[in-house]
Symmetry: C2
Subunit: 376 residues, 2 copies
């Protein structure tokens, strides 16, 4: 029994007349037409003029009746809702019923989105059941409740992007699902981020650098892996397959997946020639790597250096504080929302829509205490 329940004696106090006042109620009260009220209260550009006297009667009547516009009616009439939809990504399978909300990355991006939306008079709608490749999913996304969409970290292999294009839903992606797709995207520069991490380790003297991979279906982790391999080649460091470790084993999720990942780390450290440094695809992996390494007697950073990616809040509070690659997450959301809204406003005003653009944010290396020169 995890809850107790009080029935409250007091009932919610509600006013007598449950009907909300409409425009015409206000109009009747003020002795004018509904349009006049609309003009006064919302300053619509219909050419209609209203005298100062009527204006005052109207605002007074609106206040008396506690009038609030019905947004459903307004959206219908204006053909525009001033709402942007945000479609949450997922890293885990749908069967688990999970989505990205628990992920701080998502949160910070949403914070940026809300900031931009607030400034530009837009509201936020959340879609939590996305990436199912069903017709119903598409139907939900284009239901005209929203003027446009922001897709958070769409999987690289989804069909939804082209579907949305086909039905004329404006959208931008946070996290680039694939290059050259012709949609607006905002993401971190994964290549630079990866290089930043590896060059930092290299400068410290590390040559045996392993990589813990992110979710294989997401696009950012793929690019980071590719950049890791590329960089190794450029640095003339031989690529050892046993140094590429699965962080999110395919088909295994939740606690069980974490257990497998931890086991993978133990195997990596038990290698005859273990790495002296590990570049983890995200901070959450890095934290677990540090934990396993410490347990296995690999003190961090003395015997093993660890670099993460994201700079989530956890990075600075763990022991030792994590060296990581910072993503400007809030700013990513802010830019994504503004890009989308630019597009929406252009479309609504009949102007030519701006060309889609791909923004790559510059990552930043945060040096903390999980990295040090190797001890041989």
């Amino acid at each position: 029994m995890t809850e107790s329940n009080d029935d409250l004696a007091v009932k919610q106090k509600r006013t007598e007349n449950p009907r909300r006042a409409t425009l015409s109620d206000v109009a009747r009260e003020a002795g004018v037409s509904a349009v006049a009220v609309s003009v006064v209260l919302n300053g619509t550009k219909t050419g209609t003029r209203v005298s100062e006297a009527s204006r005052q009667r109207i605002t007074a009547a609106a206040q008396r009746l506690r009038y609030t516009p019905n947004q459903a009616a307004r959206s219908l009439a204006r053909g525009q809702s001033k709402v942007v939809g945000i479609v949450l990504g997922h890293l885990r399978p749908l069967s688990a019923g999970t989505h990205d909300l628990g992920n701080e990355y998502t949160l910070f991006v949403i914070e940026g989105i809300t900031a931009a939306c607030g400034e530009r008079g837009y509201h936020l709608f959340v879609f939590t059941n996305p990436w199912r490749e069903t017709p119903e999913a598409l139907e939900i996304l284009r239901d005209r409740r929203t003027d446009g969409l922001i897709l958070l970290a769409p999987p690289a292999d989804t069909r939804i992007l082209s579907d949305l294009c086909a039905v004329n839903v404006p959208f931008v992606c946070v996290g680039n699902p694939a290059e050259g797709l012709g949609v607006s995207t905002v993401d971190i520069d994964d290549v630079r981020g990866t290089r930043l991490a590896l060059e930092h380790l290299y400068a410290l003297g590390h040559r045996r650098i392993a990589h813990i991979l992110g979710p294989p279906t997401a696009s950012s982790p793929r690019r980071r892996l590719a950049s890791y391999r590329e960089w190794l080649a450029e640095a003339a460091i031989p690529n050892r397959p046993e140094y590429e470790v699965e962080g999110y084993p395919v088909g295994i999720y939740g606690e069980e997946g974490v257990a497998v990942m931890r086991e993978n780390v133990r195997k990596l450290l038990a290698l005859p020639e273990p790495p002296t440094a590990i570049f983890a695809c995200d901070d959450s992996l890095a934290v677990k790597v540090i934990d396993e390494a410490t347990k296995a007697g690999f003190a961090v950073p003395e015997r093993l250096s660890v670099v993460g990616f994201d700079d989530r809040p956890m990075a600075s509070i763990i022991t030792p504080p994590l060296t990581t690659i910072r993503q400007p997450m809030v700013q990513i959301g802010y830019i994504a929302a503004n890009t989308l809204i630019d597009q929406l406003e252009a479309e609504h005003s009949g102007t030519e829509a701006p060309a889609p653009r791909a923004v790559h944010m510059t990552p930043e290396l945060m040096v903390r205490q999980s990295t040090a020169p190797p001890r041989y």
Copy 2:
């Protein structure tokens, strides 16, 4: 310069006709009336019957035209939107433009809300500019985009609750703003949670127990403080004012506020008779307490025990792992959403609305390694 920008060569591929198909488009295509289409596609209860043959022509036409209902029009006609609004709380002042999104507590609650909404066919709208006591704020909240609201951690002193009642907006609160208000609420049992923490410390042998206070405008922290004092009285432990430490100094926010809070902790530990244990109002405070204590030479848990509240993910990954009081956050959101939706459905179907109820969830003590018997 934190971004680079590519103009994409490829333009988004859009279909020729930008207009979306409406019911009557489908009707024309299928050679029937719009109502018939509505009946077939949405099973509306208008008494109209449609033959199997027409039915098939209609669904075929709908698919050909990629018809999706316009939700704005539907909401208008049905007088119901099937959307619940979630109003984010805030701990910091509005001037900072911040809200609770960055807070994992909020996140988990939202996760529960989305689960319930998904099951019951509702969608989620997010209001991010709340608790301003302006008429516009109220106007936004009752704009009929949503059927009802879930208020996250409303401040104890807001006027919005009674305003919402006055204009007949159904809502429930997560976190009880005040007892006996007559609105449905779901929250953690703060009294039990506080006692759980204190009794754990007492059983270990602690008698000098300090408390780091939460935000003074929020209601949960107030109840925890009250419970702390009550419990001390019952345990016949004298209440020392210097053991009640401000964790969120009034009027000081952000990094600066944290600095003051840390300073407060240092002063507490520098007392001639410092506490042997600290009960922090939330995990985030507890983490900082551990950090300051360690820096000040008070090893945790050897020389100082620390208990948090919430059991956020950070609790188990810090060093030492934090003993804390777990809140079933996801479940809180789940119950809150279901309570609201029960109310909405009753109202829409004309049934008597269920009496408001106050649900108190039972907290759970998670013993980890930040607590130990005191060493004298």
